[in-house]
């Protein structure tokens, strides 16, 4: 029943062309070991769904610099000039999504909703190509769920079942992403025995996590 797996084996399961939900906010709470291993194994043509593309030398920003990314769905690319450059040259397709909408779309995917109605983006360029729904005279955008092949999650602590906790602002997108992927791979700063995380402290229940990166030889 152990979900422990080596970093190398975990990433080997990810094919080229896969879609990846990647936790973190400016790489804070981002799965940096998994990202580095993606680069080492030269996984390419990836679709990345993440809050932002970090900075060129940090976290998933490096995937962009290494030209491993074909498409990004994100709310912010302002601090990674490489993303902007590759977008303008046509090497990366970028879908910009308001941050709160991105969170709700990922959550929708994870909790089995067909979509949500949000007031955010009505009357702006974000509305283009989307259905609108009017309720009591107010207009909302119909925003559709996002799911991915894999979610790469960074936790503060994990138990051997895969229960996860996150610390402070490193939580961000990790818990909702852990619900929205076919396969969930988590890395954790600490791994503790089952029972060491109290039920009320668990932020991602173990049954959502498929693989937990071993901390051996770290």
């Amino acid at each position: 029943m152990s979900k422990l797996i080596s970093l190398e084996d975990a990433v080997a399961r990810i094919p080229n062309g896969a879609s990846l939900l990647i936790g973190g906010f400016m790489a804070v709470g981002g799965p940096n070991r998994l990202v580095d291993e993606l680069i080492r194994q030269r996984k390419s043509d990836l679709t990345i769904i993440a809050n932002d593309t970090a900075r060129p030398t940090v976290g998933l920003g490096k995937l962009v610099v290494e030209k491993l990314v074909a498409k990004v769905i994100t709310s912010h690319i302002g601090l990674n000039p490489d993303t902007q450059k590759q977008m303008i040259s046509g090497d990366i397709q970028v879908e910009l999504v308001p941050q709160g909408t991105l969170a709700e779309r990922i959550r929708s995917g994870g909790v089995g909703l067909g979509g949500v109605l949000t007031p955010t983006g009505v009357g702006t360029t974000v509305e283009e190509g989307k259905r609108t729904v009017e309720i009591d005279g107010k207009t909302y955008l119909l925003e559709l769920p996002i799911k991915a092949d894999f979610a790469l999650i960074a936790a503060k602590q994990a138990d051997l079942y895969g229960n996860l906790t996150y610390a402070l602002t490193a939580r961000n997108f990790n818990p909702i992403m852990a619900m929205a992927a076919t396969t969930v791979i988590a890395e954790a700063e600490d791994i503790v025995p089952v029972g060491c995380i109290p039920p009320d402290a668990v932020m991602t229940p173990s049954i959502l996590v498929d693989h937990l990166i071993s901390n051996s030889n770290r």
Binding site: A54, P98, R107, T118, T120, Y166, A167
Partner: protein
């Protein structure tokens, strides 16, 4: 006092005791320094915390940053949460005030602050949700950039939201968007009404109680 400090000080006077407030990156961040004494204001960072405070030297923590990834600290009574709840607070009307930078504000009170087509496409981040959901939206920006007024008849840049902002504070003036148009409420120290009008790209309505900008609460 430089222009940014002036703007930040004036905006800070708008914050009330117990308010939940979100400050955009850049100029708006400065506002936190000037909250009038005796007012307990809770600052949210949209990456997942209420109760943020400025960094403490020697206590940087890689799990605790602002939305730009820079170190912050937290006050007693702070609460952390995920991005869905963070934007639930914003979109759900629980955020009392947001202070954001601006590229343009127009006569209808519309804000454009997230892209310059073909030049700068950072993405909207949380700005669209903030302007749509906050109870009060304050724009804190320079009145002009590169010799051109940022206050215009109609935004030429893509809008952040069709929601009218509530207050615009610049280095020259305080302006309130209304049904009738933009109302000039205050002029900055040493700035005349004529100077404001000359530096504004659209008509301004002079408030009957037009006054000099206060800087202390």
């Amino acid at each position: 006092m430089d222009e940014k400090t002036l703007i930040a000080k004036r905006v800070a006077l708008e914050l009330k005791d117990g308010d939940l407030c979100n400050l955009g990156i850049g100029l708006p961040t400065l506002v936190a320094r000037y909250v009038p004494a005796g007012r307990n204001v809770f600052f949210q960072s949209e990456n997942g915390i209420v109760g943020m405070s400025g960094p403490v030297a020697g206590a940087d923590n890689h799990d605790l940053t602002d939305a730009g990834g820079s170190p912050i600290s937290a006050l007693p009574g702070a609460a952390s949460f995920d991005s869905a709840l963070s934007f639930g607070l914003i979109r759900g009307g629980h955020l009392d005030v947001t202070v954001l930078g601006g590229l343009q504000v127009d006569q209808e009170g519309h804000l454009a602050n997230w892209m310059v087509p073909g030049k700068m496409v950072p993405g909207m981040g949380g700005a669209m949700d903030l302007v749509t959901g906050a109870r009060r939206v304050i724009v804190a920006m320079q009145h002009s950039a590169k010799g051109e007024s940022k206050i215009v008849t109609r935004c030429t840049l893509p809008l952040t939201s069709v929601r009218r902002v509530d207050l615009v504070v610049t280095d020259l003036a305080v302006i309130v968007p209304t049904d009738a148009g933009l109302v000039l409420k205050e002029t900055a120290p040493g700035v005349t009404v004529e100077q404001v009008l000359a530096n504004t790209g659209c008509e301004l309505i002079l408030s009957p109680d037009l006054r000099p900008m206060p800087l202390e609460g």
